[in-house]
Symmetry: C2
Subunit: 524 residues, 2 copies
């Protein structure tokens, strides 16, 4: 994976206060739930778990926590038994002589046991060290209730006593978490799923989705914690199938619509704290996916008024995009406005980008019909042109595969051409079978985001069995490695792969991996 | 140095609420003063300074602080230009792209530059790591005002950016300290001191004293931060000569008197936070110094009522002490109630302990006279007996030195025998001259506490010139090594000596080193 930070801090943004006020009006209620710990655990070597790290019951019992005096370098690991996004508190007192020194403790919050084994001092990755969920705290006076103000994403909390003094030991009691989410589980209707593995995948997908549903749809509650358009599109689809929280999607659409570049282009992501701020990062199809997200919303919950209100924003994105096509209907990519498709930069993305545009333009034309846009025929022409280019110039009818960039046949191009329904259903099936034969097994793809596209392409292309197999193999393997929620990055061939060189900053609950909820609901 | 922690957590203490209410009534006002930074500095190798670490002006200017964007691993060192006991705050914002990650910073607070060079991760000393003045802070949202709630003891504050993100840099503005002390400088009357070095020593002694004057007389505002009786005695003497804060001494006496062991014995130190708590550490002469401190208070500010009120507590200490003497008037020491004299345990302390008792017993008899104790003759007899033992059994008239323990001639024994005026003035001078000839230069004494005793013995024994030389050599050398305040520990032969193996937990503003204030005022 190669990730390039975009730094465009001189860009001017328009803040449309009317749209942002609407975003504010849809701000969700955050449901808070107290969670008690399940048990105390210890790390164990376990080759069946992620990075070979599992847990076992500690000899210490959570019910007897108040009996344990902890001295320098002693530690406990609290297992809450479920993934939590929220706050942590614990009462701390001491046993022995008077407190003749501060108590100094380190707390580590971990979604997966492997994070607890990593030492922050060893981390030298390019991603900010500030994401490591670790705190060092002095307590000058005991007893005290330690209530950490920051929000963490965790199942496990390790408390290490850095030091007391030789005269007394620290005692921890009543550790408690308060989970936060705007997902309303009372509205969740799980479908009947006979297959046990699929059922477990569905459940973990629901948890992943719910944990990312906060003030906005966050991409990951541990890290990034912001609203990305590419993630939003998938979260929204899963959400319609699960919690049906329409307002939260509207809030997110208004946030993107309310903060565009001066030329109308939508950012790839926005921040909502300490105030609404658009990021200066732009990704080709992320801007376009504003259209998809509005289209999907209207499909899930018809809202003609909303479509008409936000249609001008959609049209702006499409018009900016169409300028990047030549007279033959071919996408001319621009490194300053990169086509994402997937994290990996080791494959040509032009064909996939062409397909994504066709996919979105079809949705856009539907919206244009609702909005009654008199320019609609122009868009239909453009669609025809870029589809023709794809069929005639990008499709290699001899190999039954689409070709990208420098005579390259990659999975992403086939998948997006299928999703865009550029070819007939029969041809699509043929392409997919060729892809399986010639380009499988999948290699060097490490994101559930791309795996989702492949799985959906199988479903859309009528290869249901292959789709189910892929979902079970990929998401099921995360479960067998110990996942409670699905991950930001996972390469089944290299389970220990981290885009950052250390699991300590990996996000093990990441929105774009929740899509089995949508796939199972829609296709099974 | 060998330090043994006493752990006696099963001891029962009496809390005399009436006396503790009086202690409360004398709780001082803490004066708070805002302090602006003087400059930004960098560490430099400087063999003339402590541990070879000095500072020089940074190329960055404090007046332009808001112009500097700090990225991963960048750091600034703020020099406040004076020693401060108090709180620190700084405004933090950022420059560049939106804040796409928390800011993670490390703050180090240092009294001396050498502390900034030490890495906390290297510290393996026996003293608690929790005393290291270092904080790791995450800031999820900028701009923010960081107001640290803990109190630190420092002149320098180093802020290191552990990480931002590649997209933005942290900007620090308006760093500010608020100093805290119960010393009232408007009441300070500095005597005219012609000698420039002595004048500077006096000034640093005043600062040291003032910085330790908080809610009680603390032993060190960086570390320990509590009321020790041995330190109190010296602080009170310096305080009478400087700030004349009688109430604060009274408060401390009531605290010790109000919390004794069931048998009446006074702890070596007490805590006042989160509530009044006596420590379970007992030192032979520290208990006795309650008597000295009351005696000195009454000398400085006649208070017959207070003497009568606290006399029973004094009498209890003396009676417990006298039980440790045999029929010949010889102190039989007890390892569970050790004679302190000095940190070092590498010399015999019995003779010094005998002398300390004689020193205090004389003061006690003065108090007994004021209190009108009918048992006074018994105490006079005991004084006679233990003085006789000292003169006849401990004084080696052939060598003109007192002998301790196992035929050992050490400085501490001579010094305390002089302070106790066991021999005549002429004999005392002879003993001191012998001590200089045979036992000097001082070796392996690393505390200003013991150096104070030697200097005072010179003054009391009439060797004023030698006393001044010792003060100038010892305290003056700390100044030349860069001291703003005087230190807990200093061995002129080994300036880099730390009782803890690292300067990072050394206290460089320590009450028992403030005594030049008292010595200069009383004797010069």
């Amino acid at each position: 994976m190669a990730f390039t930070f975009q730094v465009n801090s001189d860009i001017k943004f328009i803040h449309d206060e009317k749209l942002l006020a609407k975003a504010e009006s849809f701000r969700p209620v955050i449901h808070k739930t107290a969670v008690k710990p399940l048990r105390l655990v210890e790390l164990v070597k376990d080759d069946t778990k992620l990075n070979g790290v599992g847990v076992k019951d500690s000899e210490r019992e959570i019910s007897r926590l108040s009996e344990y005096g902890l001295k320098r370098d002693d530690r406990i690991i609290i297992d809450f038994g479920r993934h939590i996004v929220g706050k942590f508190s614990v009462n701390i007192t001491k046993t022995g002589s008077p407190q003749d020194a501060p108590l100094y403790i380190r707390l580590k919050f971990a979604e997966m046991p492997t994070e607890l084994q990593a030492e922050s001092s060893d981390y030298e990755g390019w991603l900010s060290r500030s994401w490591i969920q670790e705190e060092f705290i002095h307590l000058d006076e005991l007893p005290a209730k330690l209530e950490l103000k920051r929000r963490y994403s965790f199942r496990y909390v390790e408390i290490k006593v850095v030091d007391t003094s030789p005269k007394w030991q620290a005692v921890f009691t009543n550790p408690e978490a308060v989970s936060e989410s705007s997902a309303d589980y009372s509205r969740l209707k799980k479908p009947v799923i006979d297959d046990e593995i699929l059922s477990r995948i569905y459940d973990a997908g629901i948890t992943t989705l719910a944990e990312c549903m906060q003030d906005v749809f966050e991409d990951g509650p541990k890290r990034d914690r912001r609203l990305w358009l590419g993630d939003l599109r998938l979260q929204a689809l899963a959400n319609y199938a699960a919690f049906g929280n329409i307002d939260l999607v509207k809030r997110c659409l208004y946030l993107f619509a309310g903060m565009t570049k001066e030329d109308g282009k939508i950012s790839a992501n926005v921040f909502t704290r300490p105030e609404n701020i658009p990021d200066d990062t732009f990704l080709y199809e992320y801007s376009l996916f504003f259209i998809s997200t509005l289209y999907d919303l209207n499909n899930a919950h018809k809202d003609t008024e909303l479509v008409r209100e936000l249609y001008p924003v959609c049209k702006k994105q499409m018009d900016l995009t169409l300028k990047m096509f030549d007279a033959d209907g071919r996408l001319i990519t621009d490194d300053n406005y990169p086509v994402f498709v997937d994290w990996s930069n080791d494959f040509s993305k032009d064909a996939a980008g062409q397909a994504e545009t066709i996919y979105v333009l079809k949705q856009f034309i539907s919206l244009a019909e609702i909005a009654g846009d008199s320019d609609i025929d122009t868009y239909r022409e453009k669609l025809g042109l870029m589809t023709k280019y794809a069929r005639e110039k990008l499709y290699d009818s001899s190999r039954k595969l689409f070709v990208a960039g420098n005579c390259e046949y990659n999975i992403a191009s086939q998948v997006w051409m299928i999703l865009a329904h550029v070819m007939s259903d029969d041809e699509n099936r043929e392409i997919l079978r060729t892809m399986i034969r010639e380009l499988f097994p999948v290699k060097d793809i490490a994101t559930p985001y791309m795996y989702h596209c492949i799985a959906e392409a199988f479903f859309e292309g009528g290869l249901k069995e292959e789709a189910v197999k892929l979902v079970k193999d990929y998401w099921g393997k995360m479960l067998s490695l110990g996942a409670d929620t699905f991950w930001e990055a996972f390469d089944p061939d290299k389970p220990d792969y981290s885009p950052y060189g250390s699991p300590i900053v990996n996000s093990y609950c990441h929105a774009w991996s929740c899509t089995p909820v949508y796939l199972i609901s829609k296709y099974l």
